[in-house]
């Protein structure tokens, strides 16, 4: 299958995502922020980085890139969109996902391994996992504290839209001991139609034992499996 990887000025996980996609045996195409063509991608990854320096607010400027218009159309047509780190921030800024990502409660950047509990398996990204599986995936961000009002948080839980929660290494609840202070320990969520995932940790950095974990590879495989099962994905917007 074909993963499209968005490249904004200031994106730096694009190369790592490409590496992970290719390691998983799939095709990666780079999508330049000034273009609108998604080049037939089956899944669009919005990778990590500091698009536009993350000045003002992380993701605030990137959401208006021409490419994002196509990504939004693609998402509206049930295309798979996967925002990682800065990509998650962009998705929230673009209102494809509810809530916002704010400065880590420590006010410090954090680069460290984290453990994620899979909270829903009802998405293309987590379909091959079991609920409660714990994945070791590193974080690397300064603005990853997930914030939303109580109503939104309740709705996310009620609709089974929390994809991942930070947990302790042994899988027990983190109870607030997260790298960023996210509300309800949330590390990733999906949209209502479950085709858009945003997550702060970096699965593309956890695809080889040599790098400390290969748990991230499971997510890439899940996406690929779901695409090959459901067959053709919506045609990417071209303009």
């Amino acid at each position: 299958m074909r993963f499209g990887i968005a490249v904004f000025p200031g994106t730096w996980s694009d190369r790592d995502c490409k590496h992970a996609v290719e390691l998983a045996g799939h095709e990666a195409v780079m999508l330049w922020h000034k273009d609108r063509d998604l080049q037939g991608s089956d899944c669009v990854i919005l990778p990590g980085g500091f698009s536009y320096g993350d000045y003002l607010r992380a993701g605030a400027v990137a959401r208006f890139a021409p490419l994002m218009e196509s990504v939004i159309e693609f998402a509206d047509a049930d295309g798979l969109v996967w925002g990682v780190c800065n990509g998650f921030q962009i998705l929230c800024e673009a209102h494809l996902l509810p809530g916002a990502l704010t400065r880590n409660s420590s006010l410090e950047f954090r680069c460290a391994p984290t453990w994620l509990r899979v909270e829903t398996v009802d998405t293309a990204f987590t379909g091959g996992c079991a609920r409660g599986d714990v994945l070791q995936v590193p974080v690397s961000h300064g603005e990853g504290r997930y914030v939303a009002d109580e109503e939104t948080l309740d709705m996310l839980e009620r609709e089974d839209r929390v994809a991942f929660r930070y947990v302790r290494r042994d899988g027990s609840a983190a109870e607030g001991e997260t790298p960023n202070g996210s509300m309800r320990d949330i590390a990733g969520i999906v949209n209502e139609r479950r085709n858009v995932l945003g997550m702060m940790p970096h699965p593309e950095r956890a695809c080889e034992p040599m790098l400390g974990s290969s748990d991230g590879m499971r997510l890439f495989s899940n996406v690929a499996n779901s695409v090959s099962c459901t067959g053709a994905m919506p045609v990417a917007a071209v303009s």
């Binding site: 000025p9 200031g10 994106t11 730096w12 996980s13 190369r15 790592d16 590496h19 992970a20 990590g48 980085g49 500091f50 536009y52 320096g53 993350d54 000045y55 410090e108 950047f109 954090r110 680069c111 460290a112 590193p138 690397s140 300064g142 970096h202 593309e204 950095r205 695809c207 080889e208 040599m210 790098l211 400390g212």
Partner: protein
């Protein structure tokens, strides 16, 4: 020739540009006339210590810079070595001490920005950063402020641009109370055929200035780094530059797109002394001249004078030399990255440095005089008598038990865990960091190959303070040991020499000795020096820093799969010591903490033994005989064992015969446990490897002995130390945490 006023420089004029009267007289004699103000400012910048190396250049010539791997030695923006597979590894270390003392966040951030540009100017993609930091005692609020600001600034720049900061070092010592040190190292990779040089050629070729608009940033920054900090330093504060890592990321990607492109004749970053330093060096290297038109440089502010445009140190700017017919198509590459560019200069056939402001010619200087004409400075006096500092009175030590001493050392700011620092740095972006920070050298793998690069910085100024030559030798050895502990072979060195005011004879001779020591050690270990940086005048109000030699080392391992790490691994493994056991406490961290002094002679170094020990460890790792290897450095044997336990999350129990039946820290026991004897590694291995390792050690004439075994949840030294791993971890991880 010029419409600009010519003045005979007053003492105040000379002070502003940091030239001496003698230098001025030499300038006037060589020119055959008085310079105008702009010319004076330009000469001041280029003749500053920072740009001209007028004090250190005569000394640096003795460094060994040749070797089969060396593709580019000192002289370019960075050094380059051949790592096989048609690839070059490009690297350099640089200081940003003075700016960081004034504004720690921005000073450190722009230091990282500067060293990154040195690497991608050569066409190489930066793949790793390291930072070597020195502050005064951490319990002082101002030092904590500097430390926090510098760490945030390094992370702020490196994290944003997406280059991992994989290692470095951090020391706290009285001598840095008024002068912190911030040295940053960057390592990049480029196909050898795309290695780009900063040598202008082709009269008539045009020079593009790309990137940030020019503002009144850091005017006189180069001179600023070449004078002693004083009360007036505050007045020079407009010198503070604010970095824009986002812009640098765009600049980097655009420049890398152009690496190896035949349209690019040369590339040169703008650093110290801004446009005037970069254009002059570019032309000088190519044996031609250059004419700059300041009116063509885009400004961030209105009303800037030619003087300000030429001397501005605005960050994130780059020069590209190209044939006139290629300029338009090159500009298109930059526009894709939303980067603005202006044609600001033209290459001249004759070696002149001409500046014009539109139609007015405002400067015309012989290029050779400007770049190479600064009168060199020799020794300010004969070597002073340096009485050996008295040996410390061990009786002054507190009556610690060995357990207490172990925890006190592990919990001290110099030996404690650096996790609080490196977790604020993205050390994993690039998917290449195969040995993470926290052990000895970090290792990054090289994309598309099985190669790994082991990277380390090292430099213990307690040793150089006691004996500059000997301490510098140890710095080289210790950096090499960090690299060797991973299984990589040391390949080349970059170095940063941080010293006080060299106009004092003792400082000058320390510099002389330190360079001599680096040369001696690098020659003996066969490791060439390919780049470096000198930072002098780290001196405030008459108090200078201890001589500080920072060695940055790159080692190569052919297959990352064979790398070794520092943590103990398997229950039941043998713990072994490679190298001697002696009781040498002088210059040690134990001496600092227990006795509160730095005295005596630094530990003995047998450079030939050092070389053999390296060969032994590398061969043992290659033969897959070791489960861990950790160099034994500050804090000595007991600390090295405890660190390997922490890294492996498993205990160990050892016996050191020399301790006899000592029950406290008396009769040399402290020296055996915590002395910092050189040329040592703590290793662990399966019992079955014992015979082969002894055979190998015999072949290399290297002392090797078994000390005990890996296992359990305690750190034990028979009859002396017995502490739980949890207590050890708690002490170690708490070392940098602020105590209210």
């Amino acid at each position: 020739m010029t419409s600009v006023e010519i003045v005979v420089a007053s003492d105040a004029d000379l002070a502003e540009v940091a030239l001496t009267r003698a230098e001025y007289v030499h300038l006037v004699d060589s020119l055959g006339r008085e310079p105008n103000r702009l010319e004076l400012g330009i000469v001041g910048a280029l003749w500053s210590e920072h740009c001209s190396y007028k004090t250190s250049k005569p000394l640096l010539g003795t460094l060994p810079t040749k070797g089969p791997r060396v593709l580019q030695g000192p002289g370019e923006n960075a050094g380059a070595i051949d790592i096989g597979h048609g690839l070059a590894c490009v690297f350099k270390i640089e200081s940003h001490n003075h700016p960081s003392a004034i504004e720690p966040y921005q000073g450190a951030a722009t230091g990282v920005g500067g060293i990154l540009r040195d690497i991608f100017t050569m066409g190489a993609r930066p793949i790793a950063l390291l930072d070597s930091l020195r502050f005064g005692p951490l319990d002082e609020p101002h030092q904590r402020h500097l430390f926090d600001g510098v760490v945030a600034g390094i992370g702020g720049y490196g994290n944003c641009i997406g280059v991992p900061t994989v290692g470095g070092e951090l020391y706290f010592d009285e001598s840095y109370r008024t002068n912190c040190l911030v040295n940053a190292m960057c390592v990049g990779i480029v196909e050898q055929g795309k290695l780009t040089r900063a040598t202008a050629s082709g009269p008539g070729n045009l020079v593009l200035l790309v990137g940030a608009d020019t503002g009144r940033d850091g005017i006189h920054g180069a001179s600023f780094a070449s004078v002693v900090l004083d009360a007036g330093s505050a007045a020079r504060r407009p010198a503070v530059q604010v970095g824009n890592p986002f812009l640098e990321k765009c600049l980097m990607e655009a420049c890398l797109e152009l690496a190896g492109d035949p349209r690019v004749v040369a590339m040169q970053d703008l650093g110290a002394a801004g446009l005037c330093g970069s254009t002059a060096e570019l032309a000088h290297r190519g044996g031609c001249g250059i004419e700059v038109d300041v009116a063509r440089a885009s400004r961030r502010e209105t009303g800037m004078t030619p003087y300000e445009v030429m001397l501005s140190e605005s960050q994130e700017r780059m020069l590209i030399v190209a044939k006139p017919e290629d300029v338009r198509s090159l500009q298109a590459v930059f526009e894709r990255w939303d980067l603005h560019s202006d044609v600001v200069a033209v290459i001249l056939p004759e070696q002149r440095f001409v500046v014009r402001d539109g139609t007015d010619q405002v400067c015309d200087l012989p290029l050779d005089l400007l770049v190479d004409g600064a009168p060199l400075r020799g020794a300010p006096g004969p070597p002073p008598d340096r009485p050996k500092p008295a040996v410390a009175d061990a009786a002054a030590a507190p009556s610690w038990t060995p357990d207490e001493a172990l925890l006190a050392l592990l919990g001290s700011p110099n030996l404690g865990s650096r996790k609080g620092v490196y977790r604020r740095y993205d050390h994993q972006v690039g998917d290449a960091t195969v040995i993470l920070p926290g052990g000895d050298a970090a290792m990054v793998r090289v994309d598309g190959t099985t190669l790994g690069l082991a990277l380390a910085t090292d430099g213990n100024s307690r040793y150089t303070a006691l004996d500059a030559r000997h301490g510098a030798m140890i710095a080289v050895c210790e950096a090499a040991r960090n690299v060797v502990a991973t299984g990589a072979k040391p390949a080349a060195v970059t170095n940063c020499l941080n010293f006080a005011n060299p106009e004092h004879a003792d400082v000058w001779w320390n510099l002389y000795d330190a360079i001599d020591g680096i040369s001696a050690a690098c020659t003996a270990l066969d490791i060439p020096v390919v780049s470096g940086n000198v930072s002098l005048y780290n001196d405030t109000g008459g108090t200078g820093i201890d001589p500080t030699v920072v060695i940055g080392m790159v080692g190569v391992i052919n297959d990352v799969a064979g790398r070794c790490t520092a943590g103990f691994r398997d229950e039941g493994d043998v713990v072994g010591l490679v190298g001697p056991v002696a009781a040498e406490l002088d210059g040690s961290e134990y001496q600092r903490i227990a006795v509160g002094v730095n005295a005596g002679s630094p530990p003995h170094l047998d450079i030939d033994l050092e070389r053999r020990v390296h060969a032994f460890v590398i061969e043992a790792i290659e033969a897959d005989l070791l489960h861990s290897a950790h160099d034994c450095a500050e804090g000595g044997l007991a600390i090295a064992i405890a660190e390997s336990c922490l890294l492996g999350d498993i205990g160990a129990s050892v016996e050191i015969d020399e301790l006899g039946d000592a029950k406290g820290l008396i009769n040399g026991a402290a020296g055996i446990l915590f002395g910092e004897s050189q040329s040592r590694f703590v290793i662990s291995f399966a019992r079955e490897a014992l015979v082969r390792l002894h055979e190998l050690a015999g072949r290399h004439s290297v002392p090797l002995r078994g000390l005990g075994s890996v296992g359990g949840e305690r750190v034990c030294v028979t009859q002396c130390i017995d502490v739980s791993l949890a207590d050890v971890r708690c002490a170690h991880e708490g070392a940098l945490i602020e105590r209210e």
